[in-house]
């Protein structure tokens, strides 16, 4: 398969996904998690179904924009998310109201998460800083072990993966939160891992395939490693899919971006990183020729 030659197709596919994400983000906004914005999340097992309006009559006293959902297999677990951060006594007021109406006990107050707005800002800033540091660290390592052109191509592929996963988040309206950052960093690691395997082959083939141009070199290297790329993504995907299907909501939140990231990471290592590397090499080669003429 001549992957490099059809690079326009691959670039277009990625651009389309990212564009849809961008348009959706502009239209509907991003669903930021409470650990980034500050706020409260509470879950109660009601053992019965209830109407959103009934619940809203309780929560309106605390936050009129609270989001109310029913989750769990029977849809009897009430999940309340507020932008206001409610402290323990306020949360207990909500609980007391529910206690009298639905006869639940304290054991049914399954979980509560609360973040003050200042903490949210700190967590968010740290998250972005850590992604930046990780990317720079990888760029330095790859430049050191390979050469700068590989480093740049790998980082572009990484950037692609971040945008694609972000687009998935926006399109499916999954909250951006701390697990998102951890998942994102893993995706970075995984994606670069995949890319390195292809680049490593290019580096090796350069010694033995001197008569080939960059495009053929990259194409051959991809064809030699594609089976491995697909196999490893498959084994990792099997593990994560099992987690996603079997897991509880908190772990699903984590597994979904990993799934998107692994697919995107494999895709980008084959269809983005190597074509970009060829483009960089050909451009610098032309420039060198021009220097030679002058």
């Amino acid at each position: 398969m001549d992957i490099i030659h059809q690079k326009k197709i691959w670039f277009s596919i990625s651009a389309a996904i990212i564009l849809v994400g961008l348009v959706m983000a502009l239209l509907t906004g991003v669903n930021a998690g409470i650990d980034f914005t500050g706020g409260t999340l509470m879950e109660f097992e009601l053992h019965q179904s209830a109407s959103t309006d009934e619940i809203r009559s309780i929560t309106d006293a605390f936050d009129t924009s609270a989001s109310i959902n029913f989750i769990g297999s029977d849809q009897t677990t009430l999940q309340i998310r507020t932008i206001e951060d409610l402290d323990h006594s306020e949360r207990m007021e909500v609980f007391r109201e529910l206690e009298t109406r639905y006869e639940i006990t304290e054991d049914d107050f399954l979980r509560a998460e609360q973040f003050g707005p200042a903490i949210g800002r700190e967590i968010r800033d740290r998250a972005f800083l850590s992604m930046l540091i990780a990317a720079v660290g990888m760029l330095i390592y790859i430049t050191f072990r390979f050469e700068f052109s590989f480093g740049i191509a790998a980082i572009i592929a990484l950037f692609h993966d971040i945008l694609v996963v972000l687009a998935v988040y926006v399109i499916f309206r999954i909250p951006l939160n701390s697990p998102f950052v951890a998942a994102m960093l893993t995706v970075l690691g995984y994606s670069i891992n995949d890319t390195i395997v292809v680049f490593d082959r290019i580096r090796e083939n350069r010694k033995t395939m001197k008569k080939f141009d960059f495009e053929q070199l990259a194409t051959n290297s991809i064809n030699q490693t594609i089976k491995r790329s697909v196999y490893t993504s498959l084994t990792t995907l099997v593990m994560i899919l099992a987690l996603y299907i079997m897991g509880v909501p908190q772990i699903r939140e984590f597994a979904l971006p990993l799934i998107a990231g692994i697919v995107s990471g494999t895709y980008s290592s084959i269809f983005i990183a190597s074509p970009v590397w060829v483009m960089i090499k050909e451009r610098t080669k032309d420039r060198n020729k021009m220097f030679a003429k002058a």
Binding site: H88, L185, L241, A242, L243
Partner: protein, 412 residues
């Protein structure tokens, strides 16, 4: 050589199986005992249930003054938490004015949060608004029963200053109420019948025995020296956590089984070897994780499962190389040697770049995310050992038996 190789191989496999059994069920050899992984691994709040809360001191104090306030607060917290009889609480200062409290395994999470967060300022106030006693005058507090009172009461022992002041007040306000106020809330207002100069006082209310002992514990621990705001909380009931753990273990089992099957189908003999190495890998990662006394969290489990996928990756790289070398006409033995050699560099580079992400996560992440990073880092390092060296040793042992010369065994 033939038989030796086979015997060594069988011994390694037997050890791996024993390891798995020990990890799942525990093991007892003579006096030594290995507890099952599930009991010996330290579980995080999200698996065990419990309370995590970060308080911020609401004060204008700075420098040494602030430090002192924070230290006093931590002391009070510690006494309160000890009164709850919890096993492994964490109470630490975070930054300048924050205190992080973690109470894993606590059963009544909301009550526990109630207990820690209360300012617990106790005051005895006369009808004229004069404060005659505060919590600092109390030397001891205990729940007890008294005559003519169906509900339990809290009995206070007073220090000398408190005894004098209380005796004086009860003398002056005979027949009038004395208000007992806890955190701006009147909890009882007994009418003074006699002057009390024995150095004791009781607080009655409609307490259950549990409420009375909680109140006594709060008074004993003292009041908080500063107002605290909750800036971050997480409470989770134990049942929710246990469910999360069970479901994750189930997911891991299914995932591992599918990966084993995949490796066997695609790579045959090396696939079998990889599966043995993978088993050893999981055992080693868990053993190191336990010996570091690291805390297993939900994201940590995700990292373990992810790292299994990545450990397989190293084997896939090696085996694909192996197949390539064999298709190029090399003998099994020569192909194994050059395959491993060439694949090792790829695996190193790939793992180190992922390691960079793991280290950054560890440095910048908090709580559960840190658990994820620790597992990822251990996983990456161990996978180099098992996927490269153990697979290689096992494969060479098998090849030395000369039983597997046909490339078919290698999926070629």
């Amino acid at each position: 050589m033939k038989a030796k190789g086979l015997i060594a191989f069988v011994i390694i496999v037997a050890l791996a199986i024993t390891g798995v059994l020990a990890a799942v069920n525990g093991l007892q050899i003579g006096g030594a005992e290995i507890t099952p992984v599930r009991d010996s691994i330290k579980q995080g709040l999200d698996l065990k249930g419990g309370v995590f809360v970060v308080f911020e001191a609401d004060t204008t104090a700075t420098g040494q003054e602030l430090d002192q306030l924070i230290n006093q607060t931590i002391q009070v917290f510690r006494r309160r938490v000890d009164a709850m009889g919890l096993t492994e609480p964490t109470i630490v200062q975070e930054g300048d004015r924050r205190i992080r409290v973690e109470l894993p395994g606590v059963e009544q999470v909301q009550d526990a949060l109630d207990m820690i967060g209360k300012t617990a300022q106790l005051q005895f106030v006369t009808p004229d608004g004069e404060v005659v006693l505060t919590g600092s005058n109390v030397t001891d507090a205990a729940p007890t029963y008294v005559d003519r009172e169906p509900n339990p009461v809290v009995r206070l022992e007073l220090d000398s200053e408190g005894t004098r002041s209380f005796s004086d007040a009860t003398g002056r306000y005979l027949g009038e109420p004395i208000y007992i106020i806890l955190d701006d809330e009147v909890i009882s207002a007994p009418i003074v019948q006699d002057q009390i100069s024995l150095g004791t006082a009781t607080i009655s209310g409609n307490f259950s025995i549990e409420e009375a002992s909680n109140l006594a514990a709060l008074i004993r621990a003292g009041s908080l020296p500063v107002t605290l705001n909750e800036v971050q909380t997480s409470t989770i009931t134990a049942s929710l956590g246990v469910n999360a753990l069970n479901r994750s273990i189930q997911a891991a089992k299914i995932g591992i089984a599918l990966v084993f099957l995949f490796m066997l189908l695609i790579y045959r003999l090396p696939g079998l070897v990889a599966n043995i190495a993978l088993t050893i890998y999981v055992l080693l990662v868990l053993a190191i994780f336990i010996s570091l006394n690291a805390t297993l969290t939900l994201p940590g489990i995700a990292a373990l499962i992810l790292s299994i996928g990545m450990a397989v990756d190293a084997n896939v790289i090696i085996f694909e190389r192996l197949k390539e070398e064999m298709s190029n006409g090399k003998t099994v033995r020569a192909a194994v040697d050059s395959g491993f050699k060439r694949a090792f560099r790829t695996i190193m580079d790939a793992n180190i770049t992922t390691l960079i992400a793991g280290l950054v996560l560890y440095q910048f992440g908090t709580g559960p995310i840190r658990g994820f990073a620790v597992m990822l880092i251990i996983g990456l390092v161990v996978s180099l050992l098992t996927a490269v060296f153990i697979t290689r040793v096992l494969l060479k042992l098998l090849i030395s038996t000369n039983l597997f010369k046909n490339p078919r065994y290698f999926g070629v």
